[in-house]
């Protein structure tokens, strides 16, 4: 059965309308992953040298055992943000004589095929073979590798479980991320406990008692079972999408927006779209999560060129919604795009509505970042500059790319099995958005004129805001050359 599913998935991939674009993204992604793997490989081989440098006082094996758990904690954090959830359109199989268990098993099994599960081995196995096998014998080395595998599998299923849960309720993601950050902080900042000591507690004993390696199997099994149960529970049409008898849905209005005429009405509709659909709502909540990024990076004097970093963080915090939501622009409306095309809506108004939406949400996000004034007025200044950039340049760029996006997003489908665009792939598409401000900023920053760089970014942003109507015309002309392709792509379920 599994092989049939894989064949169907491959067909779905090759026969989709967007295969070309997806392949490009995959190739870029693959190159990036290969590069990272190479880096990790080098790191793994020089692990003993690095550990000696970082912890000169400690024994090599002790410090190695210490960092293992630390690695898995950060691994979990990265996975939460980047790991892709395995997908399968389960609906067509449900009424067929296919066992539910085999559907779920397929989903659980394919999730193991992620590169994330390769990293710990490439990173740590060289050290284990070089140092531990030499010191304590092959059996201990094997025990280490086995526990590595177990923890990897555990992390794999834990992160998928959290991700799946947070697809249903975005707050779970926030809570999980906050918990990990808190654990990290309570070690390195508050010194409540030491993760390295806890890690040594287990791996240190592993050296004398290799049989301990079997202990984490239990953890793995529990996590796998939880995932299995969750998926199986959700294999019902209700969760898969169609209708659920929920609470009374009342009509809402945004009187402020109606002042902007039909552009305002369209923006109001889109705000409803964001708030009433789980996927778009989680894009918004992700944005709230990114508001915490400043806490991670600011106030750490050690960071090189921290102003340059603020440009990055500032852009993310004020513009993450534009990047995150804007990536799938027009696709969000795919299910009623035909309706929009035939109604009495000028495309100019349609675009103005988008600009209005982005401006409103970015403004809210900018206002939410104002507490960062704690790190100095300059921080807020940089945020403001990046806010101008976001609503000026990034919105226009996002809409430009929107004209080239033909993929349908089915909002009506439930969130539990709807995972398009919640992976690392989407970050690739946002690269041009992230890089451009640096093209302006870096040359000046290098010659110690960072303020000129900032001023230029702000001016560019402002220039784009002032010339919006010009860009709207350009975008409109561009849209008219592509509208049939877009509409056809959206019709293609």
């Amino acid at each position: 059965m599994t092989s049939t599913f894989i064949r169907h998935e491959l067909k779905a991939f090759w026969r989709s309308k967007n295969t070309g674009k997806t392949i490009v993204v995959r190739v870029v992604m693959a190159l990036l992953v290969l590069y990272l793997l190479a880096v990790v490989f080098v790191l793994g081989f020089s692990m003993n040298i690095i550990l000696e440098k970082v912890f000169p006082k400690d024994d090599l094996v002790v410090s190695f055992c210490g960092i293992l758990l630390l690695y898995f904690l950060s691994d979990l954090f990265t996975r939460l943000q980047l790991q892709e959830l395995p997908t399968l359109r389960v609906q067509p199989y449900l009424q067929l004589p296919v066992k539910r268990n085999s559907l779920v098993r397929y989903l659980a099994f394919t999730s193991l095929l992620s590169v994330f599960n390769l990293w710990p081995f490439i990173l740590f196995v060289p050290f284990i073979l070089k140092v531990i096998a030499a010191d304590s014998g092959n059996l201990t080395a094997a025990a280490f590798i086995v526990s590595l595998a177990e923890l990897t599998v555990f992390n794999n299923y834990l992160s998928l479980y959290i991700k799946r849960k947070s697809n249903l309720n975005g707050w779970i993601f926030l809570i999980a991320a906050a918990a990990i950050i808190l654990i990290g902080l309570s070690d390195f900042y508050f010194h409540f406990f030491s993760i390295r000591k806890i890690s040594y507690l287990f791996f240190g004993h592993l050296i004398t008692q290799p049989a301990l390696a079997l202990l984490p199997v239990l953890l793995c099994a529990i996590m796998y079972y939880l995932n299995f149960l969750f998926l199986k529970e959700n294999l019902y049409l209700e969760e898969l999408g169609s209708r659920k008898a929920g609470k009374y849905k009342s009509s809402t209005e945004y009187p402020l927006l109606s002042r902007f005429g039909s552009a305002g009405d369209l923006a109001a509709n889109e705000i409803k779209l964001v708030l009433r659909n789980k996927r778009s709502k989680s894009a918004l909540i992700m944005g709230l999560f990114f508001l915490l990024y400043g806490l991670l990076f600011y106030g750490k004097p050690g960071l090189p060129g921290s102003d340059g970093f603020k440009v990055f963080v500032g852009m993310f915090m004020t513009g993450i919604f534009i990047i995150n939501y804007g990536q799938f622009m027009f696709s969000w409306q795919a299910s009623h795009f035909d309706g929009l095309l035939v109604s009495k809506i000028k495309f100019t108004d349609f675009l103005k509505g988008k600009y209005l939406l982005f401006t409103i949400i970015s403004t809210v996000f900018f206002l939410l970042t104002t507490p960062y004034v704690y790190f100095g007025w300059k921080t807020i200044l940089i945020h403001f500059v990046m806010y101008l950039w976001n609503i000026g340049v990034n919105t226009t760029m996002v809409l430009f790319f929107a004209n080239r996006n033909y993929r349908r997003i089915d909002l009506s489908r439930g969130a539990a099995f709807n995972w398009e665009g919640v992976s690392g792939n989407q970050w690739i598409l946002s690269l041009p958005l992230i890089i451009t401000p640096y093209i302006i900023y870096t040359p000046f920053a290098l010659f110690n004129h960072a303020y000129i760089g900032l001023a230029l970014i702000a001016l560019t942003g402002l220039a784009f805001i002032v010339t919006r109507s010009f860009w709207i015309k350009k975008l409109e002309a561009d849209f008219y050359t592509k509208r049939y392709t877009i509409a056809e792509g959206f019709r293609n379920k």
């Binding site: 849905k249 009405d265 009433r276 659909n277 035909d338 035939v342 009495k344 809506i345 008219y480 509409a487």
Partner: protein
């Protein structure tokens, strides 16, 4: 009102619509019939400038639909659920559509009050988003939003397919009333030959993308269409099969 010139749509080398010439005058009520794949929906979509024809053009009031937007001012259409904004409540959707035509909320409320029978108490104030409605009720929302726009041209694609019998009859009388008393040009496709011959004065029969018959509705039209679609023949074979099975 509508003029189609030399219209052709080709998918993968197969001609799915090929209409050399068709003229629809203001105030006509047109019924479009044909089996699946005859090209009805494709023709509708080209008339609404949703897909690009390989050749030819559609004119509305002597202006091509492609590249122009004036036709949107007097055309209301509902082809499928893809025309509805499904995360809105029906009320919000009606206000939105009304707003596009410069109608106030009060005006929209007024208009909807007149559709109470048609809605049969299942649409308004139910506390549901459009996506939570059944297909039939979604169709009602789509049709009502068309009526709300006070169109001069009304285009509906298989409106009778998903709605219950009472609503079918109500819809028929609404469409007839619009056409006869308000002079609205109507263009409706359907698989229900009874309904279509009842509502429409002129029937276009499509086969493999070509309009093979263009008939003014008379008492014999239903018979003619039933003959074309082979209703009697299939009844005969069905009966025969039954007998064999009974043995």
């Amino acid at each position: 009102m509508i003029e189609i010139k030399d219209l052709k749509k080709i998918y993968n080398g197969v001609t799915v619509v090929n209409v050399p010439h068709l003229e629809i005058k203001k105030g006509e009520s047109i019924g479009l019939v044909g089996n699946n794949g005859a090209g009805k929906t494709t023709l509708f979509r080209m008339m609404l400038d949703l897909i690009r024809p390989e050749r030819g053009e559609v004119l509305m009031n002597n202006e091509p639909v492609a590249g122009h937007e004036n036709w949107k001012n007097f055309t209301a259409s509902y082809l499928d659920e893809g025309f509805l904004i499904d995360y809105l409540t029906p009320e919000e959707y009606f206000y939105f559509i009304g707003g596009l035509h410069q109608q106030t909320h009060a005006h929209v409320d007024d208009f909807l009050a007149g559709l109470g029978d048609f809605f049969n108490g299942e649409i308004l104030k139910k506390g549901k988003y459009i996506r939570d409605l059944s297909k039939g009720n979604q169709c009602k929302v789509g049709v009502a939003s068309c009526l709300l726009q006070n169109p001069e041209l009304l285009m509906l694609d298989e409106p009778f397919a998903n709605i219950d019998p009472s609503t079918q009859f109500r819809l028929k009388s609404i469409v007839k009333d619009l056409n006869k008393n308000k002079g609205v040009t109507t263009l409706i496709s359907s698989h229900d030959l009874n309904h279509i011959t009842d509502v429409c004065d002129r029937i276009l029969l499509m086969e493999k993308g070509v309009i093979i018959k263009d008939i003014a509705t008379s008492s014999s039209t239903l018979n003619e269409l039933e003959n074309y679609f082979g209703v009697e023949q299939s009844f005969a074979t069905a009966a025969k099969v039954d007998q064999e099975e009974n043995h």
